[in-house]
Symmetry: C2
Subunit: 682 residues, 2 copies
């Protein structure tokens, strides 16, 4: 079988957006369409089923999902969700992302820097309060008023309790606001990771492709008070292989989708932001690839950042392919026209027109906002300096007046990310800072005052070298002293990066304020108006766009047919051995070569289902009708990326790893017998 | 003044395509609209004017234009057109592209490897013969029959005379065929080059921008029999500065434009080829940037390739910006609809439908054609191996049966490029081959048989290292032996690259044949039919799309206004000194720092005109009404890139360097007094 490639995605003629299918949807747990599911799959999903799955689902702060699979706080997720942690924990001269972190003992499990896990306890509708808070405001003031109201509510409900986390979520692109209350765990430890060669077999060439042969799993464990958390709400581990056509459910936290956005909004992406991203990700990819080839230490340091960039590149390609497809866009246009036709607006009122105007402002303000306010978002040091400088100034104000990130309700998360010790790789930091400065000059132009503010008379190469070589922010102790010392300590600091950040921050804030005033604020107003019209026209049959909050999708184990090519739903261990060339990324882990004769070659390894999932669902459990875990989702096929804008059940597929393969491999390849006993209660 | 940036190009809302303006056009010398020009500019262009300029215009085989500016064969062109040559000629430890090649003496002028200059003597209409040759054929057979007829005609007119070069040019996208007969010079020597710091001041950030401060000139000299060629047809060098509104003419060889292509053709570019190019150029750019940072030898070796990639990147961005602009595309659609409305076609006949079908085939066959048949086009070694293997096989056939590149009429050019000694940089070759192999796997997918043919069980990294380390094709003597030995020598060779090429060539030829059969052939038929309809509807008021053949454009010295920003037409030396930060690419050449007090700060340095030019026009003389040289064109503003698809005189501008600045700098910065005397006849 020939998989569908990036080129195919470029070249499509994607698929028609078509009518909504029976098994589409990123459903919230408090509005799950159980009757529809009963009719489509013959499966009964009751409240107990939903509660059980919800309480066993844990969102990870690295942008992933996970599930509780033992009574001792064990979480199942993906290797690629634990890779940052494995890298941070690697002792000098060793690389857990490559060798794996193979079962040792509880005593050797170690805390992942910065990682937190959240389990959803409750959602409360706060739409009325959020609308009231924004009343009479517009632009930047609206954004601020809403953020302050949200912070007050989360503070009221969760308080300063470190075991709770609250957030206000805007659903239906502003049609509904809900307060989400989570149980938070801030000591999450690495328990098992098979390492790249097995987990990411096929590497970037195979990413977003199927057939696939990847053991993309990892196990983490929740700790509290230095001890594993007791978790009676765990899901049952079912090591039986999936069967074709079997109903499947995926619980997890799909990231932001754009299915409810207007044509003007997605045209902005197609014509402005996605082409900029495509070019930028590609160039950064090239710089990182060459960097990894320079020496093994670089290769180790840049492995995860490079994977992230390559993954984001494919997502960008897939998004552009969907938006460049005339049929797809025609379907989106028809949907918007349908809603407008069902809608009677007072004279002079037209939220679609307002949204289009906000997109013009977005195009105008986009570059300055992106380069100054978003900044060097892949630099750890930049993030530290930003939090220290902004946090220093903001904490001197009442919580409601601060930038939302520094409201009292958010500070514990900020502090954890800032103060947890986490190694810095100076050469890599220099590379990403140089890249950011160089792209800033390119996008803003050499003559722009913002470029001059960033660079002065220095070049991007020179400035990035100076900033990285002179800063001490890589030291968690130095960060703690500056954080504790507040704005006074910041003002007194002569650290290169702190000085640089103090210098550019006012202009970054201006870019942010202009953006909120002319883009985010007006967008929020228009989006809410359209959302209300949509809910009025179509009612409760809708699910909200993804928001990196807990959702449940339903579907079946199924391959697909596209352009006369049929792809079956399963791969086996035998296929893995057939695909191995001995050269990266198709080189087998030596443990797998050694274990070959012990493994059942017919073990079903990876499989696809037509569950509607999207980035953020990585690490989600794949459940059978009885809510037992039969796999872990880790990818989608290349055609599934168009799902950001609209879902096509004929060809969008999620890609998962079976519990059957995990059980077999844990036992026979890794000898992780204690782990298997814990999973299977034996 | 704030120039318009790449970001702006991404973000536009470009400009409307609008109606054709009075001063639009890439006019051929045999159909120049003298009456129109008289009316628009008040300038009389007679046959003597045209003949004089034509005979003083020399096309350079590096894809540039030039003009004869002395009686001793001296050519004026751009630094960036001579940079390849300067790099090839640099002695070990020295880098002429950086230091420049400053006037020494005639005896020290040295031949640029592979470079030829062609002066157009005559054009003859051969439309009837070309149509007759294609009669009854379609697909690949049509392409072959036409190529054979063209080769026979060029052979008949130019024979084996190394001083002549003939080619059949398809004008109006197939509406007309003409035989172009050139005087060829194959010993072109480097006489003067100021080097990068002055010629490419502002580097990539300033490229395609204005205001601009670049001494982008170089001087070459035609030689024959070891002596400078006597050239009485030289143009007069006028060192007076240009004035605003002054009529200007640009003679040169604009490359391929797409103004006459159908909507289906440019949509293919927008949706398939340009996004692939954008991503690929960006990644290669990133790899090369990091490569240059590794050590000074790499920086020297990759300087020119990196400039080329960055230039191509901006062109791609500009093209996408034009094609993503709704207004622009609407204008193109309206133009196509207008022609269709004026046209009555027999039932069942529809060349636009046929063209659209060919684009579907193009999308399907594009990747295999691109990766196998186009191949690693930025690798020198790949080109050598391809010519040796194909040339070896093809030369055993009658000329008419060969691939067109190896027809008797083409062999002298192929041999020169293949056999001239030209240094290889193995590390750079390895980089571009690895990149090509890696992109092939990505675009074709890992499972594609073509990927397996290219890689076998090796990785792109491993295979590229093996090919480069083991080949001896960098040695011109080895190449000569293989070329002279023909197919037998190729078969007997154990050279790594020769073996690899022999292995992949049959599949590359299959990809080529399929492309010609389903794309190039059907396109040619449809294109010719549409061209005939267009000529019938609009007659002689049209100029043909650019074909890298000699054209003349007319216009005026003029700035522009876009989005309420007005950019004036001139910069001065004072502006250069104001812009210099001391850091690359805004670091001044030490000679310029030293000469500052001697230079007149008000000297007009660079200027813009509304002449309609495009890539390939680099090095073109800018002429005044008396056909005197007043500048050399070296760039366009970022908005001019949309000119590939349609021209907008309101904002498309060409960027040129004044003779005034060249004269002042040659004298006072470089002390190149003999050169100035030669230019000014003093």
């Amino acid at each position: 079988m020939k998989p569908i490639s990036v080129a195919a995605a470029f070249a499509l003629a994607a698929v028609s957006a078509g009518a909504a299918r029976a098994d589409e949807g990123l459903w919230t747990f408090d509005a799950f369409p159980a009757a529809k599911v009963k009719a489509a799959l013959g499966v009964t999903i009751d409240q107990a089923w939903l509660d059980k799955v919800r309480l066993a689902s844990a969102r990870l702060s690295v942008g992933c999902s996970s599930s509780i699979v033992s009574g001792q706080g064990l979480l199942l997720t993906n290797h690629h969700c634990a890779a940052d942690c494995a890298q941070s924990l690697s002792p000098p001269g060793q690389d857990y992302t490559r060798t794996g972190f193979i079962e040792t003992s509880l005593a050797e499990e170690r805390t992942c820097p910065g990682l937190v896990a959240d389990i959803l306890l409750e959602t409360t509708d706060v739409t009325a309060r959020m609308l009231a808070a924004g009343k009479g405001f517009s632009g930047e003031a609206l954004v601020k008023a809403r953020a302050a109201a949200a912070s007050a509510m989360t503070q009221q409900v969760c308080g300063a309790d470190p075991k709770l986390h609250c957030e206000v979520v805007s659903l239906y692109q502003g049609g509904q606001f809900k307060l989400y209350r989570y149980r938070r765990y801030d000591d999450v430890r690495l328990a098992f990771d098979p390492g790249d060669p097995a987990a990411f077999f096929g590497g970037d060439p195979d990413n977003f492709n199927f057939p696939r042969y990847a053991l993309d799993c990892a196990f983490l464990r929740l700790y509290e008070g230095g001890k594993p958390v007791v978790t009676p709400q765990r899901l049952v581990w079912n090591p039986a292989p999936p069967t074709a056509g079997e109903p499947t459910f995926v619980a997890g936290d799909p990231g932001g989708t754009f299915r409810e956005q207007t044509i003007a909004q997605i045209e902005f992406q197609r014509d402005v932001s996605l082409p900029v991203e495509l070019a930028e990700l590609s160039e950064l990819r090239g710089r990182l690839i060459r960097f990894t080839e320079e020496d093994p230490a670089n290769a180790r340091a840049a492995d995860e950042p490079l994977n992230d960039v390559e993954n984001a590149f494919k997502v960008t390609v897939g998004r552009l392919a969907a938006l460049d497809d005339p049929e797809f866009m025609a379907a989106r246009r028809a949907a918007e026209a349908d809603l407008r036709a069902r809608t009677r607006l007072p004279p002079g009122v037209d939220p679609w027109r307002d949204m289009a105007a906000a997109q013009k402002a977005r195009a105008r303000l986009f570059v300055a906002w992106r380069q100054l306010e978003r900044g060097a978002d892949s630099s750890q040091l930049f993030g530290y300096a930003r939090d220290l400088v902004r946090g220093g100034l903001e904490r001197g104000k009442p919580s409601a007046d601060r930038l939302p990130r520094y409201a009292d309700s958010e500070l514990p998360g900020v502090e954890k990310a800032l103060l947890d010790p986490d190694p810095i790789v100076p050469a890599l930091e220099q590379l990403v800072l140089e890249f950011w400065l160089s792209k800033s000059r390119e996008l803003l132009t050499a003559d722009d005052p913002d470029t001059k503010l960033l660079l002065g008379a220095e070049s991007p190469e020179q400035l990035s070298r100076r900033l990285v070589s002179a800063t001490r922010l890589g030291d968690a102790g130095v960060r703690k002293a500056l954080w504790d010392g507040g704005w006074k300590a910041i003002q007194a600091s002569d650290d290169s990066l702190i000085r640089f950040m103090v210098e550019i921050d006012p202009e970054a804030r201006r870019a942010r304020a202009a953006f909120e005033d002319q883009v985010t604020g007006p967008e929020a107003r228009a989006s809410e108006a359209i959302a209300r019209l949509r809910l009025a026209a179509y009612g409760q049959s809708l699910y909200p766009d993804g928001t990196f909050t807990l959702r449940l999708s339903y579907g079946r184990v199924a391959g697909w047919t596209w352009r006369a090519q049929t792809v079956g739903p399963f791969t086996t261990f035998a296929g893995l051995y057939g695909r191995a060339t001995g050269q990266p990324p198709f080189d087998l882990d030596p443990r797998w070569i050694a274990a070959r004769h012990k493994l059942n070659p017919d073990t079903i390894f990876n499989f696809v289902t037509d569950n509607d999932i999207i980035g953020g669902n990585s690490g989600s459990p794949v459940l059978n009708a009885k809510a037992e875990v039969i796999g872990v989702a880790f990818d989608g096929n290349i055609l599934s990326i168009g799902g950001d804008y609209g879902w096509d059940g004929r060809v969008n597929r999620s890609v998962a790893l079976t519990t059957a393969a995990m059980t077999e491999a844990l036992t026979k390849v890794y000898g992780a017998n204690a782990l298997v006993r814990e999973l299977t209660d034996k």
